[in-house]
């Protein structure tokens, strides 16, 4: 029920500020061709593996229960990932539906006339509200991480709920990183829409509880947005080493190769039962005796900034 409360507050706030959702026509320009002014843009690639890679069919925009999107408008580049919470399978709900819908709606909202590149939290919030307007009931929950590059001021604005996240590498160092948000171990913050009647025993965080961060970016910065399948299995140092390599790289093929190897690495480490993954280390900190990686869906969205 709290989801109803703040969603109607959101709607009334929007009404008062004269919000009107008019969709601009889609202009899917991925890179800035006419570059006469020095407007920054992303060169971005995606790679990933669903947990059941060997048995599942490929679906665009999803890796198992994870989902992602990337899109551009004339004044912003946007990347996003979402990780569906698997526990819903036991209720007969497909966990990937929620995250997939969230990401697809975020993408459509980016192209709306009133998209504000400085508030990616709004994307998540309105996307969530759209859920309530679907004829087909979409249930489940998911984490989400959205990252927006505002071309006007070369600044990146982010919003993160849960344990997906991003990392920014510049000159061989991690300059920005998202914080994992968890209620308790293995229970991240999540946007959720439970089936009616289960409201009280389901964790549902509002988009207001998202961590927001904004920082300027420079030419050559490397940005990685990924779900916890990556951060839980690949140690930070290893990530850094791989991301250092592609600093300043503008060739999408080389970027794609790095993204692919990152994803592959995460996958092989996740199935390694002896490796002390970040997940295992964290588990031990919480008094759980675990070793090895955590098999999970892996989504890697890798981008470099070019100005």
């Amino acid at each position: 029920m709290h989801s109803l409360g703040w969603s109607s507050k959101l709607i009334s706030r929007a009404l008062r500020s004269g919000f009107s959702a008019l969709l601009e026509t889609a202009t899917n320009v991925t890179s800035n061709s006419g570059g006469s002014k020095s407007r920054p843009h992303f060169i971005s690639v995606v790679c990933g593996f669903p947990k059941d890679f060997l048995t599942s069919k490929y679906k665009p925009g999803k890796y198992g229960e994870d989902s992602w999107f990337k899109t551009s408008t004339s004044n912003a580049d946007v990347l996003g990932v979402a990780d569906g919470v698997g526990g819903w399978r036991s209720y007969g709900i497909d966990p990937g539906e929620f995250s997939s819908f969230l990401m697809k709606t975020c993408e459509r909202l980016v192209h709306c006339v009133n998209f504000n590149p400085q508030r990616p939290v709004n994307l998540l919030a309105y996307s969530y509200c759209e859920l309530l307007e679907q004829k087909k009931p979409i249930l489940g929950s998911s984490t989400a991480c959205v990252l927006v590059l505002n071309r006007e001021n070369s600044t990146v604005y982010t919003a993160n709920i849960g344990d997906s996240g991003f990392m920014v590498v510049r000159r061989g160092e991690i300059v920005h990183k998202s914080e994992e948000q968890q209620h308790y171990f293995n229970t991240p913050f999540q946007l959720s829409l439970p089936p009616p009647g289960h409201d009280h025993n389901v964790l549902s965080d509002s988009p207001d509880s998202a961590d927001t961060l904004s920082f300027p970016v420079k030419d050559g910065d490397v940005i990685l947005v990924a779900t916890d399948g990556v951060f839980d299995n690949v140690p930070e140092k290893l990530l850094l080493d791989m991301l250092k390599e592609v600093e300043g790289v503008t060739d999408p093929v080389k970027l794609q190769m790095t993204a692919n190897s990152l994803a592959l690495m995460a996958r092989s480490l996740s199935f390694d039962s002896e490796f002390m993954s970040p997940f295992a280390i964290n588990a031990r900190r919480n008094n759980i005796n675990a070793t090895g990686g955590k098999p999970d869906d892996i989504t890697v969205v890798l981008a470099t900034v070019a100005i």
Binding site: S20, A21, R108, K136, G197
Partner: protein, 633 residues
């Protein structure tokens, strides 16, 4: 387009056969000025231009005609949509740009869907009667059926289609297109993905002709007539003296030239007549002009407005008949929305001295503007006997118009202000609280202040039909329910579609309105569990014929049991989007509600297609069921 458009004697507003019956939704398009973009050749252009006249940047243009295609740029207005204003699901803005889902077939939120379909709303207790039905295009033009959009038989409808409605030709350059829809034949909500306009570019020479013609159009009717007759006075320097000279000396000659022509035709006619026998001459002398006045009035009462005006131009007698106030006690200007202007309004004001019903829906858009002051004058002169007033999507209304309505029209029984949210937004229609005799109040998609609504409910105990669909967030439906159960016990139909949230408590309170026959709680009852409130409600409101519970996700099998047992008169039931209901309950309802005609089970689970077909045949009920394919795209 090699001939000059000036030879067209009539303007674009010609025959009715090009108009489809506009029952409901209308969208206005507005396009950017095209020709400024570099990619005007590709179909990547997203602009819309008008039908024949195209606004082009003349300098850019160089060759002869070639085809271009454009998608809509933005939506100016619409009369109804399925989703709420802020949403991007099933709403009007989805029609802009390229198609997102076509040629896939299914129920997708990325499209534009209108609020109603088929004739189910006409069968409901809240149906409205058209005023002056002879004005609606249905009756004069027999071929409207071919021009209508949904003419194909049902078996053709279950796949994605491209179709082309006829475009009405106008002579002005324009950037806006209005699409009119008629839903009568629709099987279910039909969703539109995109609108593509294709045509040819003009070349410069024709553009000049067009602009000349446009200039000439803006001159008065006398000059136009003179031009048509090819009578051109030779105007030199001091033309004012010339005009005086003409009036004094040449006018006589001018008239005699005209009457010569007339005399010739009369002579020819008389020669023809002399060849007839004397009997026939006698009978041909008794005509319409000899009929008694009352018979003439009765005959003219079947005429539509355009014909009425035309027939008044024939003779003095016919003019007197056609301007009699009895013919103007009901005025339906909605089919003429593109022709209604301030001048027409003042002409009608003179004739309609006993005006009872007025429908000015859809008037006052970009094609013809109506001045709010004129409308106010009209209401002040003629509004006090008005009993039915419909101003749906009327864009010319402003705050003082509404105020005048409230003050003057206190005999109003029906007030329909659908889609009345002009900019700047009018949140406060406070004078409307003066109306005390309302039986029907329609505020579909209109922003109204909560206090005012509650006051109006209190002041109108005879209220029978209330539509608060898409009511804004500020209005709490529980408060409204409270008010209704106290003051409006005679309520027959209530529509709360997508209004902001009725709780189970509110539902319980509404059970005081025992006369309810139609109720629409779609998307409005968001509570997780309804408890016993639905049971209480259904126990009290036994006359219920139409019950819409779309997306009331908290419905359970128990509630369906109540519906089956407590609603013997149920004719239309909507359970769209409710999960977790079992097949047995559906069958139970189908068996016990013997008068059921429509059952909407879209997006419900536990049903198979063959079940639906079987039930539909066995129980003779129209059952809707459709799903989006499982891999959600």
């Amino acid at each position: 387009m090699s001939q000059s458009p000036g030879t067209n004697s009539e303007d674009g507003s010609k025959t009715t056969e090009n108009e489809s019956v506009a029952v409901d939704s209308v969208i206005d398009f507005k396009g950017k000025h095209f020709g400024l973009e570099t990619t005007s050749e590709d179909s990547d252009d997203h602009l819309v231009s008008g039908s024949e006249g195209t606004m082009i940047d003349v300098e850019r243009f160089c060759h002869a005609d070639y085809r271009i295609e454009q998608y809509a740029h933005s939506v100016l207005d619409f009369s109804s949509q399925y989703g709420i204003n802020l949403s991007i699901s099933y709403t009007a803005p989805n029609i802009t740009g390229r198609p997102s889902k076509y040629p896939e077939y299914g129920d997708f939120p990325q499209t534009f869907a209108m609020r109603t379909y088929g004739d189910w709303w006409d069968r409901a207790p809240s149906r409205i009667k058209e005023m002056q039905p002879q004005n609606v295009a249905e009756i004069p033009a027999e071929d409207f059926i071919d021009k209508e959009f949904y003419t194909k038989p049902l078996h053709n409808l279950s796949r994605a289609r491209r179709f082309t409605p006829p475009l009405k030709r106008i002579q002005l350059p324009t950037k806006t297109i209005r699409l009119e829809f008629n839903h009568q034949r629709l099987h279910y909500y039909t969703e539109i993905d995109a609108v593509l306009l294709s045509g040819k570019k003009f070349n410069t020479r024709n553009m000049q002709h067009l602009l000349d013609y446009y200039e000439r159009q803006r001159k008065g009717p006398i000059l136009c007539k003179l031009q048509n007759m090819k009578f051109r006075p030779i105007c030199r320097d001091n033309y004012q003296n010339r005009l005086q000279h003409f009036l004094m000396h040449d006018l006589g000659k001018f008239i005699s030239v005209l009457s010569d022509v007339q005399v010739q035709t009369i002579q020819q006619h008389q020669q023809q007549q002399q060849s007839l026998s004397t009997d026939e001459i006698k009978t041909s002398e008794i005509g319409l002009k000899d009929m008694p006045f009352e018979i003439m009035l009765k005959i003219f009462s079947y005429l539509d407005l355009k014909s009425l005006f035309r027939v008044g131009a024939v003779s003095r007698f016919l003019y007197d008949v056609s301007t009699h106030p009895l013919l103007y006690s009901e005025l339906n200007l909605k089919p003429y929305w593109h022709l209604v202007s301030t001048e027409l309004l003042s002409t009608l004001a003179k004739r309609a001295t006993i005006l009872k019903k007025l429908d000015m829906s859809w008037c006052g858009c970009t094609v013809q503007t109506i001045s709010p002051t004129e409308f106010k004058k009209f209401i002040q002169q003629r509004g006090d006997s008005l009993t039915h007033l419909r101003l749906n999507s009327a864009k010319f209304l402003n705050a003082s118009c509404i105020d005048t309505l409230g003050i003057v029209c206190d005999n109003l029984k029906e007030l329909s202000l659908r889609n009345c949210s002009p900019s700047p937004p009018l949140l406060n229609f406070s004078c409307l609280a003066n109306l005390k005799n309302l039986e029907r109040l329609d505020l579909f998609q209109t922003v109204i202040e909560s206090d005012l609504l509650l006051t109006m409910l209190e002041n109108n105990p005879k209220l029978k039909h209330l539509n608060l669909a898409f009511c804004n967030v500020a209005v709490n439906m529980d408060d409204v329910a409270q008010q209704i159960s106290k003051y409006n016990k005679q309520l027959i139909s209530l529509d709360m579609w997508k209004a902001h949230f009725l709780s189970a408590q509110g539902l319980l309170i509404l059970s005081n309105c025992r006369n309810l026959e139609e109720i629409d709680f779609g998307w409005c009852l968001r509570e997780a569990s309804l408890g016993d409130s639905l049971k209480e409600f259904l126990t009290q409101c036994t006359k219920l014929k139409k019950l819409f519970l779309a997306a009331v996700r908290g419905l359970t099998d128990r509630d369906l049991e109540f519906i089956a047992n407590l609603c013997p008169n149920l004719e239309q039931l909507d359970l769209m989007g409710v999960l977790g209901l079992s097949k047995e309950r559906y069958i139970d309802i189908l068996q016990k509600c013997t008068k059921l005609q429509l059952l909407d089970l879209c997006f419900c689970d536990n049903i198979m297609d063959y079940d639906v077909a079987l039930w539909s045949r066995t129980f003779k009920v129209d059952i809707k069921s459709c799903q989006v394919p499982n891999d959600f795209r």
